[in-house]
């Protein structure tokens, strides 16, 4: 089973990368672009075939490592394909 985790900064947490991208896009002449935020996406291959168990395991990984829950939120997508 494949899992895809999105890790994004919580609202209100400063995002230097997003801000820099926004500024550079402006410099490049792109108009009307605002509120740029950069996050991470982590893709994993799991041996687990049971969706519920897989989800629980990935949630654990997020809590323990993939996200810093002080500043970040995460969402999990599973893809049994």
């Amino acid at each position: 089973m494949k899992a895809r985790v999105h890790v994004t900064l919580k609202n209100g947490v400063l995002d230097p990368q997003g801000k820099a991208i926004e500024k550079t896009l402006g410099n490049l002449g792109f108009k009307g672009v605002g509120d740029v935020r950069q996050g991470k996406v982590i893709e994993l291959d799991l041996d687990e075939t049971d969706a519920a168990k897989a989800e629980a395991a990935v949630k654990d990984m997020c809590e323990q490592l993939l996200a810093n829950t002080v500043i970040e939120n995460y969402t999990i997508e599973l893809d049994a394909a």
Partner: protein, 229 residues
């Protein structure tokens, strides 16, 4: 004073830290490998700088999940002193021993240069040999030193006197021009509630003798030696 320096895959200031501690305290610190689950008998634990696990994912994140960190946490709770320098500071926030987070520098660049710091209080084991009225000069060398904490945390840190160092101008002004990385309130280092855990981005171990361009890092280790012996 008995010191232990914890070494992780990708630590790269471990030797510098060992050398500085030995030179100033006259005693070789114990080296502790990240897979250890127990710390040796010691008064001071140092988490040195570096790029543990390449700083991949988040700086210090993977090292913070090492087996040894549980022992460091425990030792801190028991009242030992813990010093996290640069990557070590990042680990301390990642484990929750210190609040907040260290984000990418505001202009996204790695930055290596000497900065001036105000010593916010000099009644801790780390800063007792410094003066609060004169800025000190210490090198920074980091990519992720942009200190972030939410308003509430920040207010608590300030209220409890837990800001250890602030980036200031040569004349001691904590203004934007002196802020190298975008840190909130120009914060360069913070203490735990009991003032026994210190995390800081600048590298005191790199400026301990005039031959290197200055010795403002020295009093930190001298103070620790005095306080913890």
């Amino acid at each position: 004073m008995k010191a232990a320096v914890v070494i992780f895959p990708g630590s790269n200031c471990d030797r510098d830290t060992l050398v500085a501690l030995e030179r100033i305290t006259g005693r070789k610190p114990t080296q502790v490998w990240h897979t250890e689950t127990e710390l040796p008998d010691c008064d001071l634990v140092v988490l040195p700088g570096g790029f543990t696990y390449g700083d991949y994912l988040r700086a210090g994140a993977m090292a913070a999940r090492s087996p040894v960190m549980a022992a460091v946490k425990k030792r801190a709770e028991e009242g030992a002193h813990v010093l996290g320098i640069c990557n070590g500071f990042q680990m301390l926030t990642e484990t929750g021993l210190l609040p907040g987070a260290l984000m990418r520098n505001a202009d996204l660049k790695f930055l290596c240069k000497d900065v001036h710091l105000s010593v916010e209080r000099n009644d801790t084991a780390f800063t007792r040999k410094y003066s609060t009225s004169k800025p000190i000069r210490i090198p920074i060398a980091h990519h992720d030193g942009n200190y972030f904490a939410d308003d509430e945390t920040l207010a608590r840190l300030e209220g409890e006197g837990r800001v250890a160092f602030r980036y200031v101008t040569k004349d001691g002004a904590p203004n934007e021009a002196a802020n190298p990385n975008g840190s909130r309130s120009n914060i360069a280092g913070i203490y735990s509630e009991d003032l026994r855990v210190l995390g800081m981005m600048p590298h005191p171990e790199r400026l301990i003798e005039p031959a290197l361009g200055g010795s403002d890092g020295r009093p930190m280790f001298e103070g620790l030696l005095e306080a913890l012996s």
